[in-house]
Symmetry: C2
Subunit: 442 residues, 2 copies
């Protein structure tokens, strides 16, 4: 199968009807909507949020879609740019490991703005998001690891295609127009990982969302573009280090199951590489059999690649704590709420008890352990030990995930707002896109 099979595959995906959507994936999309609203509100007062809002508000325009943290409404494209950027400000949103991208921050802003523009329902937003996110997963898997390793930020690149599919669905584009929109966004999709650590990273998400609105809006008006620009020779895929032959996999991909169902939600406000360890520790703590002061040594086994990423031994700032296995392990053992942004205080770096406990944590690279996994061995002073493994890719019960996302939400935006968003999320069939948007305004 040639790369050019990717275009009809994505166009087929784009037209899957609501009642044919896999329910497990749709449930996860609903939880992602909740989580995206939460991190949007939590990021709405970050410095970059003020800048991007000032920029789009200075441009102004016809009021069609809400801007997070503002009272004004703006054109859909402007709202998508601002809302995508703001929602990725904290880097606390969901991740999909199949393509190593953040689906919600690139695709929800496009889906929501287009839905508001069209007066669509909240369920329409979730459907369009899910199909856009699934498109981003599949396109991202075809682009593959080479693309990511060459320097591209899949949140932005695959995300722009996903945002385009979501917007095309809400703008009710037919197959030919959706194809033109994909062709057009192929010449627009961009974004580099080298922005990590700057405002440029969240901007990548906003740009992807805005690209989706722009491409779908122009295609709706009859703008043409080369569909060869999407896949095949001299296409986006070819020019951007898409994995050779990556699309061979398409043959086995049905629409009965969505890769999106395996999306991973961040439950701790620190580097994703540390989350499997934290989960293992929380499981060990949950059964009540661990008395921290009885411990002699805490052994953490992780994939060796993370040792260059998040193994700072003596963090000196709150930000460095987020990349410190030993310190995070100590905090988890002492019951600190790692979901709360406030927990990562600079002052904690000088806490004698945590420093002492962190020194007893040994981080061991083990190439038998997957990137998404960790194992923790607790060695007690009496010679006994307990061991717990965790893999972020293991499926999690949606009800339990919901409970934990609600706890995260309360830690980030307070009980009242968290409960309010949670109630709406559980009665989405009664809501309009504009109701979702109204919750983001401030």
């Amino acid at each position: 199968m040639s790369d050019s099979a990717l275009l009809p595959h994505i166009l087929d995906l784009a037209s899957v009807s609501r009642h044919s959507l896999p329910q497990d994936a749709r449930k996860m999309a609903q939880l992602s909507l909740f989580d995206w609203m939460v991190v949007s509100l939590a990021g709405a007062d970050q410095p970059l949020a003020h800048i991007i809002r000032d920029f789009v508000m200075a441009e102004g325009g016809v009021p069609r879609a809400a801007v997070t943290g503002a009272t004004v409404r703006l054109p859909a494209r402007a709202a998508a740019l601002a809302n995508g950027t703001i929602s990725h400000a904290l880097d606390y949103d969901d991740t999909h490991f199949a393509y190593i991208g953040h689906p919600s921050v690139a695709i929800f802003p496009a889906a929501l703005a287009a839905a508001e523009d069209m007066g669509a329902s909240a369920d329409d937003v979730v459907d369009a998001f899910l199909i856009g996110a699934e498109s981003a997963c599949r396109i991202g898997m075809v682009l593959g690891r080479d693309h990511y390793d060459a320097g591209f930020h899949q949140t932005a690149t695959s995300g722009a295609f996903g945002a385009t599919i979501a917007a095309s669905r809400l703008y009710q584009l037919d197959r030919a127009a959706t194809s033109a929109a994909l062709g057009l966004v192929s010449t627009r999709a961009a974004g580099l990982k080298s922005q990590f650590g700057t405002m440029g990273k969240p901007f990548n998400a906003g740009a992807a969302a805005a690209n989706g609105i722009e491409a779908a809006s122009l295609a709706k008006r009859g703008f043409t573009a080369s569909t060869d620009a999407f896949a095949g020779a001299q296409s986006f895929l070819a020019a951007h280090h898409g994995a050779a032959g990556g699309s061979a996999a398409i043959d086995g991909w049905s629409f009965d199951q969505f890769f999106f169902a395996a999306v991973s939600h961040k439950l701790h406000a620190c580097c994703h590489g540390t989350h499997a360890m934290i989960e293992a520790l929380l499981l060990l703590l949950a059964d009540g059999a661990v008395a921290v002061d009885d411990l002699d040594e805490i052994q953490v086994y992780i994939a060796p690649r993370w040792q260059n990423v998040c193994d700072i031994k003596a963090p000196e700032t709150g930000l460095e704590i987020k990349f410190s296995y030993v310190f995070l392990a100590a905090m988890a053992l002492r019951g600190v709420n790692l979901a709360a942004y406030e927990s990562y205080d600079d002052g904690l770096c000088h806490d004698a008890d945590l420093i002492e406990l962190a020194k007893r944590v040994k981080v061991i690279g083990d190439d038998q352990i997957a990137d998404s996994a960790a194992r923790v061995d607790l060695k007690r002073k009496d010679g006994q030990s307990r061991s717990q493994s965790f893999d972020l890719l293991s499926s999690i019960d949606p009800a339990l995930l919901g409970t934990r996302l609600l706890a995260k939400a309360k830690a980030l935006i307070g009980d009242d707002r968290a409960n309010d968003l949670w109630a709406m999320t559980n009665a989405l069939e009664q809501a309009l896109a504009s109701d979702i948007a109204a919750k983001l305004q401030g």
Copy 2:
């Protein structure tokens, strides 16, 4: 010298003062402004012009900059998107062969919109354009042929950097903010050659211009971005097939001479690959010694690569004529105005005289001839012959070029409008950016 030397080099270039600008290059920039205004007006009624105007006008916004062919004014970024797209609609604008890009259509729209936004002068527009275009040339030369061959459209990619430099200068960004703008646009710059033949190609120019306004505007407000995103490991340059070691050349590049001075203006409304032949024919005709009916054979020697591009032997449409050496040669010999858009009429394909004359034209690939050159040998029936070579890269007297660009303008937009624009171009020091913009409105 490592690739990272490119950033300080471009920042130094960005701060060259008006009185230090090379005068030959500045004169060419002035002619490019005239030519850009002409092709903008000539393209303002094309289908894609209506669509892109409808799109930005539906978004609306604070009136800061004129939109070509409209009476409304819009935010600078929206005007740049529309005006860049519209000005490349006819593909009749200038080309720079050093980086194989169209400088005017990506950079003037950004310079003009930012200048209007700031209430700047017409001279400020030309200065900012020139420095932006020179930046695009130099960045494009470092990106090199690999980048182009991989599928990227340098008008869009290098053009976005040039547009950013032009806008940064007009928005009066300091060195640090200009650096942030370059970092930010590194994550936005995009555009594929596979759009050629669709509305996606002119859109690439508009997107580049809009990217420049966006990056400069955000940087002005304090938005940060990674400057590593521009050059060096995992940068735009590295990820987008930038030629390895291409920046070594920077060592020899001064600011006393600008590559931009060698910009090439399209004087015929057909494929650029045919222009050297046409120029050679016009020189042969100009001396009055050629009687077409005395000719036995017309031999055209060109670089072999063009034989796959513009050597259609029996064109069947006006569009195909633009890619037909033999037919264009016949038209030139019969005195048809090849600068005029109307000359490329479908009906001409059935003109018996032209068909007969075209049959006497022989096109010969010769690998001793440069891509930018051609040689024409006229063989008379009496056995005598005359020969003329032409290279588009050979310098042209600016006064003569001006005369020819004015003739092109008259053919495209009529005598009155052409003379009006020409008068303003020759008294730019008395004009504001808003005066230029007013000429584009309709």
